[in-house]
Amino acid sequence: MSANLSATFYLLSGILFILALRGLSSPETSRQGNYFGIAGMAISIIVTFLAVGNFGSGFIYVLIFLVLGGSIGAFIAFKIPMTAMPELVAGFHSLVGLAAVFVAISAFLKPEAFNLGVTGNIKLASLIEMSLGAAIGAITFSGSIIAFLKLRGIMSGSPITFKGQHLINLILGLAILFLIYYLCKSQLSNIFWSIVLISFIVGVLLIIPIGGADMPVVISMLNSYSGWAAAGIGFTLENTALIITGALVGSSGAILSYIMCKGMNRSFFNVILGGWGANDQTSDNKTKEQKPVKNGNADDAAFLMKNASSVIIVPGYGMAVAQAQHALREMVDALKKNGVKVSYAIHPVAGRMPGHMNVLLAEANVPYDEVFELEEINNDFANCDVAYVIGANDVTNPVAKSDPQSPIYGMPVLDVEKSKSVLFVKRSLSPGYAGIDNDLFYRDNTLMLFADAKKMTEEIVKSL
């Protein structure tokens, strides 16, 4: 296959990938979009085989490894519970990162195969591109591994900080740039290996100071990195499909990080440098005096909701942890039978990754047109009879609107306190991830339901 023809096909793949993302603008078109993506991938792979044109024994091995990896991937895809999506995505990011590193290493070891010159005399531009691709890939890999361990709970979610951390990161970052410069002059393989090694370390150092509550930002950020790594390799291989994809994924991750930061009213750098999620705020909690709280049970809750004309459900990460989404759906079905209008309100940073709550509700067969984003539904709280807060906390805290001293001041929150009564399902009065007390607990119109989210919801279903 001629180089021009294959380049045209790679362009076609790139366009199909753009259409795959375009499809996600609505759930109706999304499935078709996914098929575009699959088609683009198939074209890329087949064209590469034809372009290389080496159907010897190596080809068989390629197929074997392709099927092997594919079976593992398919197995994971069918087995993974939806609550574990954040760690799955983090794990997948690490694979893209490592694949980028391996391809870069291979290109460095055998530049002839990629038309990049000969060993010891690789084209300057290619050398820069492949070392950047390898560096970003390595950072993506080790960073994603740390994110995976934190999300999986194998590693504590609390930030790990030490003195001079940022200085070390800065020095290592500059060292990578210097080594790339030096590599271009010397073409020494030891320098190349050092770049990869230091990048692995940077990836770890970059993610360990970030707290568990900031995971939505971290995942989006690593998503973006994996894209830039792919683009770097794309430049090395002079492959249009990879360049387009890298740019798409890179900007997609960047936009998601931006949306997540905005959902927490924090700057990107503030998140990256760590902070929040640290336990220091919990300890000096000023409001230790016992404020009166109204305590209710399932029957009270059932009574309130049965007699309401509209109910808004506010799910949060706690719902995912308790696996309460199916019980919740049952409760809503029972309410609907009683003629209650029910909708769901989702905060941008609810859950551990962008859109996490939506997937969980979809899994529990909640129709997506009953689920609303913060801006769409926030005005409706004033006209609603009951807000049922399940597993969410900080995203409902009115302090964010009233107290400039509060660390979450300015963060967009759901106006649940405006509804006639608030049912708050929670295990205890302990503060949320931000480590601050929720003013909502002590309001007159709030009824606290102290229990596990799933158990409480099931009990409510029973008494309905």
């Binding site: 753009i18 099927v67 990879l242 798409l248 009953e370």
Partner: protein, 100 residues
């Protein structure tokens, strides 16, 4: 004076960033998780590089160090391609509209 092909690739790259910017902003927030899994899957088109790496060189010795890295990258990327697209498909199947 001739234009370096690098400039063309750079142009494609920059324009794709803009395309990505507008396309991703139009993605509905409720599909942000599938967006992440599908971007993950398509970024595994890096398998193209892995295949070239694996098949490089003479067919007499297909397990040189550079080939081995290529084969490893193929496995990693294949996990991602199949895993990414299938899990996205599984999620998208769950999004249903209200029964009228």
């Amino acid at each position: 004076m001739e234009i370096d092909p690098f400039i063309f690739r750079l142009s494609i790259f920059i324009l794709s960033i803009f395309v990505g910017y507008y396309v991703v902003w139009s993605v509905t927030p409720s599909l942000h998780t599938p967006l992440m899994s599908v971007t993950n899957a398509i970024s595994s088109v890096i398998i193209v590089g892995a295949i070239i790496a694996a098949l490089a060189g003479s067919s007499k010795n297909i397990f040189e160090l550079s080939n081995i890295f290529g084969f490893l990258a193929i496995i990693l990327a294949a996990v991602n391609i199949f895993g990414g697209f299938l899990v996205t498909q599984r999620m998208l199947q769950m999004y249903k509209k209200k029964k009228k």
